[in-house]
Symmetry: C2
Subunit: 284 residues, 2 copies
């Protein structure tokens, strides 16, 4: 009674990926643009000399400029194809130019789906406040803010947003799909030492995200933590549940998809059914 997601004539492969989003127009293929999905799909097809295009499905469809250290994707390939995973990774890494890296390719366990089997996504937003310019060697992954952030205020407000609720306020588009999400973790700290010392790292973990949700959440929290807005404003717009134009969506530079969580192999199929039912059309 397992939910069969893959075609019987195909085998599903899992790809673990990292990329510097700076020179990509995001994950999703767009004609004439360099995207992570577009690059990977076209190179996989060329390297394996396939007649037909291949299609990658990922756990988190990152926007233009957003980075990933723990992106997960899957691709279904003909079951007659024998893939040397290590060789394919090496070949891809040679042609991808360094700003996208395939860490690992593995045969996916039965029922695996990079998008629908995921139980959480963890993003980190990095921010240098008070006009302090970030270490040049890390500047592509840290956003800069002139105002100073009151970290305690930020964390106080963040705590009020954790939990299962309608995050419509923080979603850029609503396409009829649900904007109810379970926000599992939202907390910031200053990096205590090392080359990123002083940088604010805000961890945002949820079962899934709607479009621009992380950057809108951080934008709203920063507005309160820098004294531009107050708790009442945040509580009121959150309660309303509709996209609010008074929220600043933070720049993509600071955002990195760090990790995606999946259940144990025997729970994959059940998770896919559940997630599909919840968010068939929405972004994850």
């Amino acid at each position: 009674m397992s939910a069969e997601v893959t075609e019987p004539s195909t085998v599903r492969w899992r790809l673990d990926l990292g990329y510097d989003g700076t020179n990509f127009s995001g994950w999703a293929t767009q004609p004439g643009r360099r995207t992570v999905q577009g690059e990977l799909e076209s190179w996989i097809r060329r390297i394996l000399r396939l007649d037909e295009p291949v299609q990658l499905v990922c756990a988190g469809r990152t926007d233009a400029g957003v980075h990933a250290r723990g992106q997960v994707a899957h691709v279904d390939l003909g079951s007659m194809l024998i893939i040397d995973c290590a060789a394919l990774s090496r070949r891809l890494n040679k042609v991808l130019g360094g700003d996208c890296v395939v860490r690992r390719i593995t045969a996916a366990p039965p029922g695996f789906d990079a998008r629908f089997a995921a139980i959480w996504r963890r993003y980190v937003y990095r921010l240098s406040d008070g006009g302090v310019p970030p270490d040049p060697l890390y500047r592509s992954q840290i956003a800069q803010l002139n105002a100073e952030v009151d970290l305690d205020r930020l964390n106080e407000e963040a705590a009020t947003l954790v939990g299962l609720r309608d995050f419509g306020t923080f979603c850029r588009r609503r396409d009829g799909a649900s904007t109810i999400r379970n926000l599992l973790e939202l907390a910031a700290r200053r990096v205590p030492s090392g080359p990123m010392a002083g940088v604010i790292e805000c961890t945002v973990r949820a079962d899934a995200f709607c479009h621009a949700m992380v950057r809108s959440l951080i934008g709203a929290l920063v507005a309160v933590a820098t004294g531009q807005r107050d708790h009442e404003w945040l509580a009121a717009i959150t309660e309303r549940g509709v996209r609010d134009s008074s929220i600043t969506v933070m720049p993509a530079t600071g955002l990195t998809l760090e990790e995606v969580g999946y259940p144990a192999d025997h729970e994959l199929a059940a998770r896919v059914l559940e997630a599909r039912a919840l968010r068939e059309v929405s972004r994850s």
Copy 2:
């Protein structure tokens, strides 16, 4: 009886700097090239509206592509100029474009000289071996190697090079100046966790360096630690003390000047006299 290095009519300012060397043709000014020194000198002159060019002196004259997190420089400006250090830093950071950052400008203590007062320079060379591509977000500061490095072998050989000796073997040019240096520290480790997990970090600390010395030392050590060469080769060429063409100079990408050490303020002047006597003409 203090050694007066600055002109009486000037005040010496200390600049603490960081840069991503990728898009710089090194530290030293070269006509028609974008260099760290060139950019800083021309912007300082423009911002302060000075008639005359200014001249920066740094602790470690990094080559093209080499990075710095803890570069130190000084500049002498007319004593009639009242400098708002914080404002000048901010202005510089606005125009420098993010890949060079002025962390701090301070009035230098008496006797300070960014180059000659330094008692040590600490570089770190970062290397991803075994064909493992580095995290794309860190790729500009990590060199890549296909062969696998035996870290114990590398550290064994490294230990034999520590101490005061003639490093002529590892210096790209000899211009008659001494190549005797005191190598205080040379040891590698693999980063245990985090986004750089597995990357080899090789710390090289010496009183001073001659040209391309760090990258030559690492190149020689890597040759032994990957089995291309043996201990006898390294011992023989080191002993010979003349530049050896069999040494591979490692790529600039992996190299970062992390920190420069200075003595206590009251020892600065004595240190300058000592260092000048030792290495008047050589690179530091």
